[in-house]
Symmetry: C2
Subunit: 328 residues, 2 copies
């Protein structure tokens, strides 16, 4: 059963059981880890002794400051737990583990359920859940669960939840920065979360190689007909000693250019192969553009891979973007 | 008289008068303008008809979205007003106007008063004030004044106040992002402020020339012994078609490099003249370093001008930074 409110089923599931396995999604970010860890800390505060936070992938370097993150396990313990909590995703496959089992299963998540999911075997088997796509972050939902249980939020829980909400709202910048998320953030700072310390770890700890690569890439910035684009070549990766991972949010820079509608990032992966990231500021649906090159994504953020020389690839992609802008 | 709480003197000063001149500081940013405009909108909502918002410098391009900002006057009207409000500064000189006069004067500000200021003639002459250095922004204080007056915050006031608080807390990142500022932000979003729209205008409208210049400058990034630095040369300004104004926050980029203690930005102003910006992540007081070169600033942010070739200037400044780091 799924609900968008903290249900008595969910609260009783926690109150009446004693061992809990908590798992987020693969490639975990602050919302997945922060929500899992805050839930674990809350359950411990209630006196539960057997709690395991599990993640298929290790805690990323910039999130190792999250309190208790050292206790995250990468392999499921052999013993069986009373309750399995699936957090910040609503599909067991997204956890990256096969056959995780417990006597009872519950989901806490803010992602939209796939169409018809409510009727599937997995959702019908849930003992309880809290699935609310209107919540800014899963951290908001875990905060609600903990306060509904009457658990006082301590500094460690607050830091985990603050990081979760901070990252999923883009630092309280995206349109999901709701009154509720800001109000909860206020309570979390009151409970001891330090915005600047968390910001420093999350946003101000960029590896030197990544910043160097950004400079080289941003030097290629061009703009024409409402489109701004940058390129990262293999030579630049070599010069900066960097890898693809270091260029993760580079498309945000052309996106910030004033007066443009679409931003494009060309990343050279092979001699004649480019990974393309597309961002729209609202006028066009970049998912449609990416689809033309067998890619995918959302209305405002999409991607694809295109083969050819840089010149060929840029011509093809920019032509498609301009056509989309003309048609809009 | 100065107080850190909304006093009955301040409320009565507003209630009992009918014409108001509101002025912020020179080079106004979102807190100065947003606070002034929100106060003006609130007074108008109370039925006051004669209100003028004054600024020595024009509204910067990226703040023209602030509701009512078109009504900002750059020259003081000739008529006399009942009340002069000095906002987001507490020294009449900071307004950039000489001899502004009204029957009564009041200050609303969150900057620290100069030592002994309370006893000066200006402060003794104030009819009322609200000066609270613990407030994250002057916008917080204007919000308190408006709510104490029982004025319902509408969308236009909310957008002005949200922008004010957003910018002065560095997007809710700095350590002044207090529970109070986040709670007020929550109410402002509830009242109609749109975080993403305001963010787009404030943080995502960077001129192309400025972004291009950032790329060229960031390509020069170097790091050694806990110091990261970048340089912008006159050739880069020419290549990007940019001016010094376009490089305003460039020092933030070396500051974001992981594991460094001090960030330095070298900006070539003349053939043999460099403007230096220094930022500390906490270990050293960069004001002391800047002072050695006849500059000034704060513990964490300081600047100075040094003459010589780029090589000479970099050697001198980096040597001083390294010495400070060794001594810390």
């Amino acid at each position: 059963m799924t609900t968008t409110k903290v249900s008595s089923e969910l609260l009783n599931l926690i109150r009446r059981n004693s061992s809990f396995l908590i798992v987020g999604h693969i490639n975990p970010e602050a919302d997945s880890l922060g929500s899992s860890l805050a839930l674990a800390l809350g359950l411990r505060k209630m006196g539960k002794r057997d709690i395991c936070v599990l993640s298929r992938d290790p805690v990323p370097e910039n999130l190792r400051f999250l309190p208790s993150s050292k206790k995250v396990k990468l392999k499921p313990p052999r013993r069986e737990f009373d309750v399995l909590f699936i957090v910040d995703c609503n599909d067991p496959e997204r956890t990256g583990f096969k056959g995780l089992r417990a006597a009872k299963t519950a989901v806490i998540d803010h992602h939209v359920l796939p169409a018809g999911a409510g009727k599937s075997g997995f959702y019908r088997s849930l003992s309880a859940s809290l699935i609310d796509p209107d919540a800014a972050a899963t951290g908001v939902l875990v905060y609600k669960v903990l306060t509904a249980l009457g658990i006082p939020i301590d500094k460690n829980m607050a830091e985990n939840l603050y990081a979760a909400i901070l990252v999923d709202t883009g630092g309280f910048r995206y349109s999901n920065s709701s009154p509720e998320s800001l109000k909860i953030a206020s309570s979390l700072v009151e409970a001891g979360a330090k915005p600047w310390d968390i910001t420093k770890d999350v946003y101000e700890s960029i590896p030197f190689r990544s910043m160097k690569l950004l400079g080289l890439s941003l030097s290629t910035l061009e703009k024409k007909d409402g489109v701004a684009w940058i390129t990262t070549t293999r030579a630049m990766f070599r010069k900066a000693g960097a890898t693809a991972e270091d260029s993760e949010d580079f498309v945000d820079y052309p996106r910030k250019v004033k007066g443009i509608d679409v931003a494009v990032f060309f990343r050279q992966d092979g001699m004649k192969s480019f990974k393309i990231s597309l961002r729209s500021k609202g006028r066009v649906n970049v998912q449609k553009i990416a689809k033309r090159f067998n890619g995918g994504g959302h209305v405002a953020a999409a991607g694809c891979t295109v083969n050819g020389t840089l010149k060929e690839v840029q011509e093809k992609v920019l032509k498609a973007v301009r056509a989309a802008l003309k048609g809009s």
